[in-house]
């Protein structure tokens, strides 16, 4: 559905994309993961036909985004990063307008349908300017979906909205995957893990890694990290017990507790619990520590350096 081959894009002397290639199959939710400035937005803008690549090719459902731009654009629903909307239009008018522009035969029913999907049907007569940030985000989604495109491209759809709404949007995106090919960008790893079938990690305009969230985790991370708090043992004894546990690569004190890193591919939590018990202590906290994106990129950049 989405094919990207060796995409390059320069702004003057700055290189935003430097040979990016990836693909997304029909019905797949693909996450574009990367820090700010990695080239996520540029990739999406090329795919949506907003700007041409400096070199390389990109196809949407077989249509080249440069040679056959109008056909390619007709297949895409796009929600840009800033969720641009016309503040002085009504919710319904806004979605109907985009439906018309994208050639929907019956724009108004299509708009209603899309508004129902994002749960804004009740507010269809309101002015866009009166909507909350989360509602606007959903309205942005509605305009991207109104023409029922095979490909939906969402640029950081969860940025700047409150946590409850973030969860809503994530669920919506995940649901979209049933009917559409979804490409969405984020810089939050867990979001990508929760929503995506596959993740493409961009860094400095290149694909740093690509795969399912699980496989990526396995290739990239040298092991899970676990936070442990122990009762009934002196810190020295606890540390000794932890270090001796099966599968533990490293254990260090951290505040009132300890941070334990397991060997690659091993879930160390049962071993840690067992070891503490055997030493006569009691585990009062055993919590996996989420890896931050910074960690991953440090890792990736480190790899690249090697």
């Amino acid at each position: 559905m989405i094919e990207v081959e060796n995409l390059c894009r320069r702004y003057g002397s700055a290189t935003a994309l430097d040979g990016v290639s990836f693909a997304a199959q029909s019905g797949e939710v693909v996450g574009l993961l990367g820090p700010n400035g990695a080239g996520k937005t540029t990739t999406m803008r090329i795919l949506t036909g907003f700007m041409p690549p400096t070199s390389g090719r990109a196809r949407i459902d077989g249509h080249d985004v440069v040679e056959d731009s109008l056909a390619a654009r007709a297949k895409v629903g796009y929600l840009p990063e800033r969720t641009p909307l016309y503040p002085d239009m009504t919710v319904e008018g806004c979605v109907t307008f985009w439906a018309e522009l994208r050639g929907v035969k019956k724009p108004r029913p299509a708009a209603h349908e899309a508004l129902r999907k994002v749960d804004l049907f009740g507010r269809r007569q309101s002015l866009v300017r009166s909507l909350s940030k989360g509602m606007r985000q959903r309205l942005g989604l509605a305009q991207a979906l109104v023409h029922n495109p095979p490909v939906v491209i969402l640029d950081e759809p969860t940025i700047g909205i409150d946590p409850a709404q973030v969860i809503e949007v994530r669920q919506t995106v995940k649901a979209l995957g049933k009917e559409h090919t979804v490409l969405f960008s984020t810089h939050i790893l867990t979001e990508a893990e929760q929503v995506c079938d596959r993740v493409v990690i961009l860094n400095l305009g290149r694909v740093a890694a690509e795969g399912t969230p699980d496989s990526l985790r396995k290739t990239l991370f040298s092991g899970d990290r676990v936070a442990v708090q122990v009762q009934g043992l002196s810190p020295e004894a606890a540390l000794k017990a932890l270090r001796a546990a099966t599968g533990v690569a490293q254990a260090e004190p951290d505040g009132v507790g300890f941070v334990v890193r397991g060997k690659t591919g091993v879930d160390v939590r049962p071993h840690v619990a067992g070891a503490v018990q055997r030493a006569g202590g009691l585990v009062i906290e055993l919590r996996p520590i989420e890896l931050t994106l910074e960690d991953i990129f440090l890792n990736l950049v480190g790899k690249g350096g090697n």
Binding site: R73, D88, R102, Q125
Partner: protein, 723 residues
């Protein structure tokens, strides 16, 4: 193109739902309403023109950018442009849809101002055709302004910057019309003027002349500006691609595209300017050749001698040049180039202009060309600026055609007049006037002709007996009798003379001859008028004039107090009610006048009193005409000559009118000068309206109308705000 309609509809909806747009509309109506009312107040003394479209030519500098600044700049700033540019529609659809919406909104504003035209029709008699032309013109003008504004809106994300740049560009394009004031070179100034917007409005659409080339110009501006706006919009896709690859290619492509468009547009413009396709919208067909002119041009063609129209226009007078040339080129076309035209800058061709005796900037001359194709300076005729341009030009050509056809002879044997010396005090004004009209003047001595047994030359069309100091000899009267017998015409002036044997006293045999021959004669009585005078009862103003006479058609115009003739110490003319030939009164005094016969008392002490037994009761005749249709002889007899003196002939106007129209009738010049004397209507007040009505109109147009629009905007804002 798919999408134009959709973009257009959204923009229109945005205009109608945005309070700003209503604010703009209200301001628009307020400004145009003020202009209209100011002009209406002035129109009580001037003919109303179309102030609103003309003022808009200026005000569009500000209204245009306000309407266009948000079109693309706002989309760019809000980010919605990214969505528009990724929608499956062409950029052209975006640019055209936005442009058309702005133009449609402007059209609506323009239609609102038609209220003023309706009011004008109700209170006056405006030139409807000219108004239609002005509206078409300003509509196209507005289209060009909006296209320029749209281009600047496409250039930037900032509405303020877009508006500022547009205002700056439009100001330049507006002031360029006045390029003549800073650019010394005429051709350059003219070129600059051709490139400005008002250069294609003020001299054509605004005055009721629709020229195809102006359509081409405005359409050309729109096409070129929309193209550039389109390329600017496309350049937003390439973003900062700058000076490499695609960026450079697109830049070169744009430049080539603009060059191509400019070539096409200027080509079509030049061709259309050359073809001179025009539509005359004025009521008086001011920019079309009248039947009368065509008759004259037929004479030109039959005569076959090339004629040159020479005009002198400084760069300051380019608008006048355009207006005059709109007429002059019709003459050239009609005569297939036999009449040609040439324009000079008087500042750069000073010596040449001096040969024409150029007096003011913007003057035209007609002349024959000699065998070398050069202006024959002995035939140069000045085009007077009295009437419409066509009338002036045709009259000048007629005077050229009539060179030496009309000869007016002044009797010099018994008079003090020196016709050859135009500097002579007293009557040089009328003599110069005759000469300027192509009428030859010279003196003849009737007494000498009688002695030599000769006749008045056949070439003489009118004989003037003016400033006569003594009666004609019996022989001279016989010469005159023979002259009249073969259809001679004479303009005879008598005056109060207290000497021993004055000219045309009741005892003068010539006076008796006139009575016998034409049924008119002079009385030995000075007219005293208590009712119709200019201060003293001896300064008599024409009270009544004959009906249906070409001599008096323009006299005593009730609209123009200066159109009465003034006679100073005049004698009464007697008219025979049973005349031998047709005759009649020209000018008569009021019922409260009489003829004082005691000339001795009057001459010595300037005292007079009505005595029933001696004096002649009024009204009296001051001038009379006679027409012997059998021989063709004509006579005009006037009981005064002072009215022709340099001091009085132009003040009041009536004196000059009486002389001109009398000489026109006598010479038959009137039958050849096809524009017969006409009532002067063009400068008359045509708005007849009470102050109360003026106030009401002002209230409606400057308060109620903009206020209603403003309220509508507030209402819509409130209604939409509730949701």
């Amino acid at each position: 193109m798919r999408g134009i309609g959709i973009v257009f509809r959204r923009e229109m909806a945005a205009y109608f739902t945005s309070p700003i747009a209503y604010l703009i509309a209200a301001a628009f109506l307020l400004v145009t309403g003020l202009v209209f009312n100011t002009n209406l107040t002035l129109s009580v003394t001037q003919r109303p023109v179309n102030p609103v479209p003309n003022a808009l030519a200026f005000f569009l500098i500000f209204f245009g950018p306000v309407l266009t600044m948000r079109l693309l700049a706002e989309e760019a700033r809000e980010g919605t442009l990214e969505l528009l540019l990724t929608a499956p529609i062409n950029e052209r659809a975006i640019v055209f849809g936005k442009f058309l919406s702005a133009w449609a909104y402007f059209t609506l504003l323009l239609l609102l101002t038609l209220v003023y035209q309706v009011i004008l029709v109700a209170v006056a008699r405006p030139e409807v055709g000219q108004a239609v032309s002005a509206y078409i013109g300003i509509w196209l003008y507005g289209g060009a302004v909006l296209a320029i504004g749209l281009f600047f809106s496409a250039m930037t994300d900032s509405q303020v910057l877009a508006a500022f740049l547009s205002v700056a560009a439009l100001t330049l394009l507006y002031l360029g019309e006045q390029a003549g004031q800073i650019v010394a070179n005429l051709d350059l100034a003219n070129l600059i003027r051709t490139l400005t917007l008002p250069g294609h409005y003020t001299g054509s659409f605004a005055v009721g002349l629709i020229r195809f080339e102006d359509f081409v110009f405005f359409s050309g501006v729109i096409v070129v500006m929309l193209y550039v706006a389109l390329r600017a919009l496309e350049a937003r896709r390439t973003g900062g691609a700058g000076w490499q690859g695609r960026g450079v290619r697109s830049l070169i492509g744009s430049a080539l595209g603009v060059a191509f468009l400019l070539t096409v547009v200027s080509g079509v413009y030049a061709a259309s300017a050359n073809a001179a396709l025009t539509l005359d919208m004025t009521e008086s067909r001011q920019y079309s050749l009248s039947r009368e002119t065509l008759t004259v041009l037929q004479r030109v063609k039959e005569f076959g001698q090339p004629i040159r129209i020479t005009g002198f226009y400084s760069p300051n007078a380019l608008t006048f040049r355009q207006l005059d040339d709109a007429i002059a080129r019709l003459y050239e076309e009609e005569t297939d180039g036999l009449i040609s035209r040439e324009y000079f800058d008087p500042n750069e061709n000073r010596t040449y202009s001096e040969r024409f005796n150029l007096q003011i900037d913007g003057e035209l001359f007609v002349s024959y060309l000699d065998a070398n194709g050069e202006v024959d300076f002995s035939t140069v005729r000045r085009v007077t600026a009295e009437n419409s341009q066509e009338r002036n030009l045709t009259n000048a050509i007629l005077r050229l055609l009539d060179i030496n056809r009309f000869e007016v002879a002044f009797e010099v044997g018994s008079s003090d007049i020196v016709p050859d010396d135009s500097s002579a005090a007293g009557y040089s004004g009328i003599i110069d006037g005759l000469e300027a009209n192509g009428i030859e003047t010279f003196g003849i001595n009737l007494n000498q002709l009688a002695i030599d047994g000769q006749d008045v030359p056949n070439t003489v069309t009118t004989l003037m007996l003016l400033q006569m100091r003594e009666p004609l000899s019996a022989g001279a009267v016989q010469v005159l009798d023979r002259y009249f017998a073969r259809g001679g015409r004479a303009f005879v002036f008598a005056d109060a003379d207290y000497g021993a044997s004055p000219f045309l006293s009741e005892s003068d045999p010539f006076n008796a001859y006139l009575w016998e021959r034409f049924g008119v004669r002079m009385r030995d009585a000075v007219v005293i008028d208590a009712l119709s005078n200019a201060g003293t009862e001896l300064d008599v103003l024409s009270y009544a004039v004959s009906d249906g006479s070409t001599i008096t058609a323009r006299l005593n115009d009730p609209e123009n107090p200066f159109s009465r003739a003034l006679f100073r110490v005049a004698r009464a003319v007697q008219i025979d009610p049973e005349p031998p030939v047709q005759n009649g009164m020209v000018v008569a005094t009021s019922p409260e006048s009489y003829g004082e016969t005691d000339l001795t008392l009057l001459g010595q002490s300037s005292r007079y009193a009505f005595e029933v037994s001696e004096d002649i009761a009024g009204p009296l005749n001051l001038a009379a005409w006679a027409n012997d249709t059998r021989t063709g002889a004509r006579l005009v007899l006037v009981g005064d000559q002072n009215f022709l003196s340099n001091g009085l002939v132009q003040n009041p106007e009536g004196n000059g009118i009486l002389f001109t129209d009398a000489i026109t009738w006598l010479t038959g010049f009137g039958e050849s000068v096809i524009f017969a004397p006409q009532a002067r209507a063009s400068n008359l007040p045509t708005v007849f309206i009470s102050t109360q009505d003026l106030d009401n109109i002002a209230l409606i147009t400057t308060l109620l109308l903009p206020g209603a629009v403003l309220l509508l905007g507030v209402g819509i804002r409130w209604w939409r705000g509730r949701r």
